[in-house]
Amino acid sequence: MTCCKQQDESSSAAEEYWNTAAWHSGGVVCWEGIMLLVRAFLPARSLAAAGLWCRQKHTLPDLPYDYGALEPTINAEIMQLHHSKHHQTYVNNLNVAEEKLAEAKEKGDVSTIISLAPALKFNGGGHINHSIFWQNLSPDGGEPEGELLAAINRDFGSVENMKNQLSAQTVAVQGSGWGWLGYNKQKGTLQIATCPNQDPLEATTGLVPLFGIDVWEHAYYLQYKNVRPDYVKAIWNVANWKDITARFNAAK
């Protein structure tokens, strides 16, 4: 083994990468082996900036629960299609768009860079939104309490009022889109907003996303058919207040 072991202050993650590097290198120093070690110790962003490390591809995050866990509110078939097909497609297409972006940047092809913007917004937004969505839901999400509850009461009068407003605006989305409970950092208040298609909330409105309701038809059609209001009403049963609270605390 000729790769020196830079393990002095190694974390377990670094150790894991070291083991991977060792296997990969077969005991001989190689470029890939060194890069895997480097990756263990340096953040990917700075490596990418230094041009030392190729961009990490986006991947589909795991659901924190089984596909059937949100029944009867959202059935297993929807969850499986939504996660493994729709979200996966956004991830795949985001990676493709980013590849094209990297090529265009290398060539200095500004026209192509600009033309990729819609694809990046659509697929990047789809990836962001769905990643939040899976965490926003839970079979066992609890209720709002503490500071978040106080903020809801302050900004909407009551939890009931907030739910009614968000539900109404979400049902009213024309076509595909999302309803959001967001946090306005400038004003320090909660705020409701809707976005069309996969437009990401924060990039579009500046609001930090706390709780999102996907009202693309694929999110509910197999179970609720055209009756979007029933789906939006039911989704409150699986709202993960623990996650919403964590996002609120992080945003404040």
Binding site: G175, S176, P196, E217, Y221
Partner: protein, 286 residues
């Protein structure tokens, strides 16, 4: 200082209440900075004298967006319906007639729930429009445009869609439309690829269209978001539409929109498309 602020605020509120006038922000700031109360009151009086009355946010001539009337004109041309008198047109075939390409459940829900929903909401929008007209409230009339385009467009688009399909149809067109497709796309295959590609690529909810350009006497592929009506949006007369909202295919094709678009070519009623094309050409004087 505080009394001056209160005075200014009260005056501005009153002005806003009475006339909807937008108060000049720069002047406001200047007054807020005035150092003596007496001077600021005098300046305020001069300022009030010199206020230019300006309606905030309205078109000066107070016009209703012409798209409102255009929407109802197109519905009348297609269905013969007067504004407000909208009903669900029956299909010329049974709900299961397009199987296996589009299943009966989809056809039934699509027709009796979605299309009917657009009609119901269109009629509600028309009622509000009539109230706004009675009150001569141009702003309110224009505020209804999105609802009228969405629901009016939904009613129009689906009406055309049902006629664009038929059992035992599909295949390749004949007649004038076939000639036009060959002329403007090179071949039917080229048109099929373009139309399919565009329809699959619609981001979110929308429609793929084959439309007729009256100015250039050409047929072209175009897409629209949501229920945006083709003619108002792109100036093309709608000949053949493909609904790619997820409700149009999801129960059967799930996320595989491309398979649905492929299957659609088995149900296209080219006779109807041809009829529309010939009528549009004639109306355009060609």
């Amino acid at each position: 200082m505080a009394e001056k602020d209160l005075y200014i605020a009260a005056l501005e509120k009153k002005l806003a209440e009475l006339s909807g006038i937008e108060v000049d922000q720069i002047k406001k700031n200047q007054l807020a900075n005035a150092s003596s109360e007496a001077r600021s009151i005098r300046e305020m009086a001069e300022y009030v004298e010199g206020i230019q009355v300006k309606q905030a946010g309205l078109v000066i001539t107070g016009q209703v967006n012409p798209q409102v009337a255009a929407m109802f004109a197109h519905i009348k041309a297609e269905l013969g319906e007067e504004r407000g008198a909208h009903t669900l047109p029956p299909l010329k075939y049974d709900y299961d007639a397009l199987e296996p390409h589009i299943c009966a459940t989809i056809m039934q829900i699509h027709h009796t729930k979605h299309h009917q929903g657009y009609i119901n909401n269109l009629k509600a929008a028309v009622e509000k429009l009539a109230e706004a007209e009675k009150a001569n409230d141009i702003a309110a009339m224009n505020a209804l445009l999105p609802a009228i385009k969405f629901n009016g467009g939904g009613h129009l688009n689906h009406t055309i869609f049902w006629t664009n399909m038929a059992p035992g149809a599909g295949g390749e067109p004949t007649g004038a439309i076939a000639e036009a497709i060959n002329k403007d796309f090179g071949s039917f295959q080229s048109f099929k690829e373009k139309f399919s590609g565009a329809s699959v690529a619609v981001k979110g909810s929308g429609w793929g269209w084959l439309g007729y350009c009256p100015k250039d006497d050409k047929v072209a592929v175009a897409t629209c978001q949501n229920q945006d009506p083709l003619q108002i949006t792109h100036g093309l007369v709608p000949l053949l539409g493909l609904d790619v909202w997820e409700h149009a295919y999801y129960l059967q094709y799930k996320n595989l929109r491309a398979d649905y678009v492929k299957a659609f070519f088995n149900v296209i009623n080219w006779a109807n498309v041809n009829e529309r094309y010939e009528a549009a050409r004639k109306a355009a004087g060609h």
